[in-house]
């Protein structure tokens, strides 16, 4: 759990997002909670996966909300494998600079990880249909991508859940 601490600091706009949203949208949810399960794998050589989470909307540029990678290696060496998160790299990563403020975070150990994003972070300013995409790529391992559609404005209690088969466990989304 210690390892996830830096990620929380870098992506630490959780409270801020809620503060922004709460007064203006009292009746409407302003925050998306995403729970990402990273499976424990029985492999001889295990490295925590690189994970990218981003938002897609038809006709709009993909918006990255989180990238978990070896962000603290010397000389930024961990960025070498970002392109292995290949759909994200094509959709958004390749046009970004790293570390990305509020987006970069450490890789996460197997287990459930809850992260929260404000509407602004999600880039969900216009009402409409969006897709949250989560892609994981593991060194000497595989790759998996999951998609969870959502609409904005979201209703409290609305959400979604998708279960991965290999590199990702269940990923669920809830609004508050």
């Amino acid at each position: 759990m210690q390892l996830s601490t830096p990620a929380r600091i870098l992506g630490g706009t959780i409270g801020l997002g809620a503060a922004f949203a709460a007064p203006a949208l009292a009746a409407n949810p302003g925050t998306m909670d995403v729970t990402v399960n990273i499976p424990r794998l029985k492999v001889a050589e295990y490295h925590k996966p690189y994970v990218a989470i981003w938002v897609e909307k038809a006709g709009a540029k993909a918006k990255t909300v989180a990238v978990w990678y070896d962000y603290d290696m010397k000389a930024n060496e961990g960025t070498k494998w970002l392109r292995d998160v290949r759909q994200w790299w094509r959709a958004a990563g390749r046009s970004m600079s790293f570390p990305a403020n509020g987006i970069s975070g450490a890789t996460r150990a197997p287990g459930a990880h809850k992260v929260s994003f404000s509407r602004a972070q999600l880039g969900a300013t216009a009402p409409g249909a969006y897709t949250l995409v989560i892609e994981a790529a593991r060194e000497v391992g595989g790759r998996e991508l999951l998609r969870i559609p959502f609409t904005w404005p979201a209703k409290a209690g609305a959400g979604g859940r998708v279960a991965g088969k290999t590199e990702l466990g269940a990923v669920s989304v809830a609004f508050r």
């Binding site: 960025t79 070498k80 970002l82 790299w89 094509r90 390749r94 046009s95």
Partner: protein, 278 residues
């Protein structure tokens, strides 16, 4: 297929051997360690060879004498750690800028012959349009020449693909991206444009062969032709490296028929394209 002979090869095999032309029977290729790259200190290693099967080094190394690299801003970059072994050459390029890099070996030459003192002599190796005049001795008659331009190039991209390096030189066959060569995904169709001497060239044969030939029975070759605007569409069915070759049209000779005239203008283009999985 076996009965057809490619005139350009059969008739000028000896000349072809002298000039650095990709001979029909063997395929020139370069294979970079990656085409889509991320990171702050990025290198690419390239294998370069001439062989039948793609991409297996098994016949001859590609000579690196003319190998050059260009950064996205157009400056020339160093070819580092060059080595040429029995079957392949290898080298590195330090990709110090973000964007699309070009690594290319271009050779221009003039092939031909002349008659002197009752004997037919071939133009020596290394003849170019610049030194052609001094290579034809006084008194030579029946001078026949054919200019050739051969380009073997690959593209690799750090971060976002750029198109700064696709300004045509106006010489030989050149590649113009409609689809960027480092943005290819299986299941998508790519469009490329080819210019011959700076102009969109219609009717150029385009050959596309997926790598991994050694482990399958069928070559899987796509035989395409550029359209009126010099464009060709390629549908990538599977991810992997693909070899792409474009040439000036070569007349096919049928057995027993008189040979067609040697083409005045010959050009070829070779690249390796990496198609990623979706």
């Amino acid at each position: 297929m076996m009965k057809k002979r490619i005139w350009g090869f059969a008739a000028t095999a000896a000349l072809v051997a002298l000039v650095a032309v990709p001979a029909s029977a063997h395929r020139q290729w370069m294979l970079p360690s990656s085409t889509v790259l991320s990171g702050d200190d990025v290198w690419v290693t390239v294998d370069a060879a001439v062989s039948n099967d793609l991409f297996y080094f098994e016949h001859q190394p590609l000579r690196l004498d003319a190998m050059k690299a260009w950064a996205p801003d157009g400056t020339e970059a160093a070819i580092e750690n060059k080595a040429t072994g029995r079957y392949r050459s290898t080298f590195d390029v330090h990709l110090t800028q973000k964007g699309t890099w070009r690594i290319a070996s271009v050779s221009d030459g003039v092939m031909g012959s002349y008659d002197l003192n009752g004997k037919t002599e071939r133009l020596p190796r290394g003849t170019t349009t610049a030194n052609l005049a001094e290579r034809i001795p006084a008194g030579a008659t029946n001078v026949k020449t054919a200019e050739s331009n051969n380009r073997n190039e690959i593209f690799v991209t750090v971060g976002e693909p750029t198109t700064t390096l696709f300004k045509p030189t106006g010489k030989g066959i050149e590649f113009i991206p409609v689809t960027h060569p480092n943005d290819l995904i299986a299941g998508e169709t790519a469009t490329f444009q080819f210019l011959l001497d700076g102009k969109p060239a219609e009717g150029l044969p385009v050959t596309v062969i997926p790598g991994g030939i050694r482990y399958r029975d069928q070559l899987g070759q796509m035989d395409l032709k550029t359209g009126a605007d010099g464009k060709v569409e390629i549908n990538w069915t599977e991810p992997g490296p693909y070899w792409l070759n474009v040439t000036t049209p070569r007349a096919e000779r049928t057995e027993g028929a008189p040979p067609p005239a040697t083409p005045k203008r010959r050009a070829s283009y070779v690249t390796t394209l990496e198609v990623l999985a979706p």
